[in-house]
């Protein structure tokens, strides 16, 4: 037993493990370091160091009653728990807990699809159901429903949702929290609670109406630590008859503003799915004169280079779900809308496919548009098809086999959904790079926003990237960690907050949201202390520390 939960003696922890074994079965209490290994963050910046966020043990309950038993035992001995569904969220810490020595509650054995109603477009699942599982369930039962999947299909519907994961189809579905409807939760005292209509005994509308009556606490469980969610309802998108794409390009840098306005309009009328913005000017960065103009945000000069090269400055791929006729009418409407404000916009028809599409259609090598294209991965997820592609980011790459990136972190700032806000963020992020790495050259003026969420943009500072680079030595990783913390602080000073973070950086991101002397965090921690007085559930998750462990806030800052 190499690691103990904080504040728990070896003797007591031995008793805890025995009681866990009695509750879930001996083979499902995991203490051997070789078996604990998968519960670490494979890409941690603190890997193999004394303060790496590793659990002391893992316990795998198979039922709600077993989860309740585990929670009650933990409460008696004040053992911190950290619950995971599939624990595959590797850009955000994977299965690693916020507090070293926590006991991981691995819910993978609870992996039943409890209900799918094809006519009401709803499902009820257990925590261990992955996107792959759900997709296969729909396929096997020939149900005309779609999932909105995470990038890698081994993610869990529930875990991704509780981390506020996002997707790629229509807005109400790709905001996974928004698509959830009804939860069953084991509270820190072991009691079972249902939210929404689930609180009404014998209700037949649990997955239809999420609110029920009175305050709805379901939001507390996303990026929170107020309970262990053991069932969750979802609204699923009905399989449309047809899918169509179209690409719109606009010639000048400032045309981005009316382009965003038009896309927002169609988005909020629920006419289009996730739009994909990009800039066709990326290849011009090899031209020193253009690069200089892009670095200086010299818009007139950038426009001059764009015109001279015959390229447009921005483009957006739109996707339409519906019937063949409605998707065509909506695509024609989108063209009409953009030409009202940008008369010299170009419009290219893309795919027009009967749904569900075949894998061969998804993999079709012939692209209907000018570059840059949607990736094959994106073409899959737009159709709710989960994949297990070998990752491009972490690890050695085929193109550069001697480059080994050992760390992998997703950091994306929330940006207002307007062209002006994107332009400001581009300048802010370039300024952050200039201040963090004096002398470094980073062109951010072509960085497009990501619209995973219906009503907000996300922008990653790609200089620091989702995969951090450079020095893989322990000291090098610590330097990268410090640098990222500095970046998060600077982002906040410019008004940009991150939407997700791995446990290692959650205190730093929580620090960004500091209005009125951290009134939000103080409110959350007041609730936490009332609901979880022993502070046993996921201490530190979302930056919320219970009184018992509050002194540990920021303790990992080196």
């Amino acid at each position: 037993m190499a690691i103990l939960p904080p504040g728990v003696t070896a003797t007591d922890f031995g008793k805890v493990l025995k009681e866990f074994e009695a509750a879930v079965g001996r083979e499902w209490v995991i203490t051997d370091p070789d078996d604990i290994h998968p519960y670490r963050d494979y890409f941690s910046m603190l890997k193999d160091q004394d303060d790496e966020l590793v659990p002391s043990a893992a316990v795998c309950p198979a039922s709600v009653e077993q989860v309740q038993a585990v929670v009650r035992i933990a409460n008696r001995y004040k053992v911190p728990l950290y619950a995971i569904s599939t624990g595959k969220n590797f850009a955000y810490g994977g299965p690693a807990p916020n507090l070293r020595g926590s006991v991981t509650v691995d819910l993978k054995r609870m992996n039943r699809v409890l209900e799918v109603d094809e006519k009401r477009h709803i499902a009820l699942v257990e925590p261990g159901v992955s996107y792959m599982d759900m997709y296969r369930h729909l396929e096997e039962h020939k149900l005309k429903l779609m999932i909105d999947t995470a990038d890698v299909g081994w993610g869990g519907l529930m875990g991704n949702t509780l981390d506020r994961g996002l997707g790629y189809t229509l807005g109400p579905y790709r905001d996974h929290v928004n698509a959830s409807c009804g939860m069953e939760v084991v509270l820190p005292n072991g009691e079972l609670m249902r939210t929404g209509m689930g609180a009404l005994p014998n209700s037949g509308a649990w997955q239809d109406y999420r609110y029920g009556f009175g305050p709805d606490p379901s939001g507390l469980f996303a990026q929170g630590n107020f309970g262990i969610v053991v069932k969750m309802g979802f609204r699923l998108m009905p399989m449309p008859e047809h899918w169509r794409t179209g690409l719109i390009t606009v010639p000048k840098r400032r045309d981005f503003l009316p382009l965003v306005d038009m896309v927002n309009y169609l988005t909020d009328l629920f006419v289009i799915g996730e739009p994909l913005y990009s800039s066709p000017l990326q290849p011009l960065l090899s031209d020193a004169a253009f690069r200089r103009a892009a670095l200086d945000f010299n818009e007139a000069e950038m426009d001059r280079h764009a015109a001279a090269s015959g390229r447009h400055s921005w483009q957006v791929e739109l996707q339409f779900y519906g019937s063949e006729k409605t998707t065509l009418a909506n695509w024609e409407w989108a063209q009409e809308l953009i030409r009202r404000t940008v008369p010299d916009a170009n419009c290219f028809a893309g795919d027009s496919l009967k749904m569900p599409v075949t894998q061969a259609q998804i993999d079709a090598a012939e692209h209907p548009y000018p570059a840059p294209y949607s990736s094959v991965m994106r073409r899959n997820v737009m159709h709710g098809v989960p994949k297990l592609y070998m990752w491009r980011s972490p690890g050695r790459t085929d193109d550069s086999p001697d480059t080994w990136n050992e760390t992998h972190i997703g950091l994306f700032s929330v940006v207002g959904r307007s062209g002006e806000a994107v332009f400001k963020a581009q300048k802010d992020f370039q300024d952050v790079v200039r201040r963090t790495r004096p002398g470094a050259e980073y062109v951010s003026s072509l960085t497009p926003p990501l619209q995973w969420h219906q009503s907000a943009f996300f922008i990653g500072n790609s200089f620091f990237g989702t995969t951090t680079r450079n020095d893989n030595s322990p000291e090098g990783k610590i330097r990268q960690l410090r640098e990222l913390r500095q970046v998060l602080k600077m982002n906040a000073e410019a008004g940009h907050g991150d939407y997700r973070a791995p446990p290692l950086l959650q205190d730093d991101v929580a620090d960004q949201y500091s209005f009125n002397n951290h009134a939000l965090r103080r409110f959350n921690e007041t609730l936490k202390d009332a609901i979880d007085p022993n502070g046993i559930l996921s201490p530190g998750r979302g930056g919320v520390w219970p009184k018992a462990h509050r002194s540990r806030r920021g303790a990992l800052r080196k």
């Binding site: 290994h37 993978k108 990752w391 085929d398 001697d402």
Partner: protein, 97 residues
């Protein structure tokens, strides 16, 4: 080798992987690592791992190793051995501890 692997997964894009594979586990059924592991995992490997008493082996890149190691861990398969080779390749065996 305490556990004879039920299958040997080879990243056949690399000549070196094919060579290493033929040396490492002659006679073991060989399967090419596809770009997307979804069908291979659900169609073949998951069943092997679920059995709890069989090993799988491979010669892949680090990324392929990570992917399969993570999937196999769901069934408590451990890394029994792994060796890095030049050209980004790793030969490995996953099996019950």
């Amino acid at each position: 080798m305490p556990h004879v692997p039920a299958v040997l997964i080879v990243d056949e894009r690399f000549d070196a992987a094919r060579r290493l594979a033929s040396l490492a586990a002659p006679g073991v059924p060989r399967v090419a690592l596809p770009r997307d592991v979804f069908d291979l995992w659900h169609g073949r490997l998951e069943e092997v791992c679920r059995s709890g008493d069989r090993a799988i082996a491979g010669v892949t890149t680090e990324r392929g190793f990570f992917l399969l190691q993570t999937l196999a861990a769901e069934y408590r398969l451990r890394v029994l051995s792994s060796s890095a080779h030049t050209g980004s390749l790793v030969s490995w065996v996953l099996g019950p501890g």
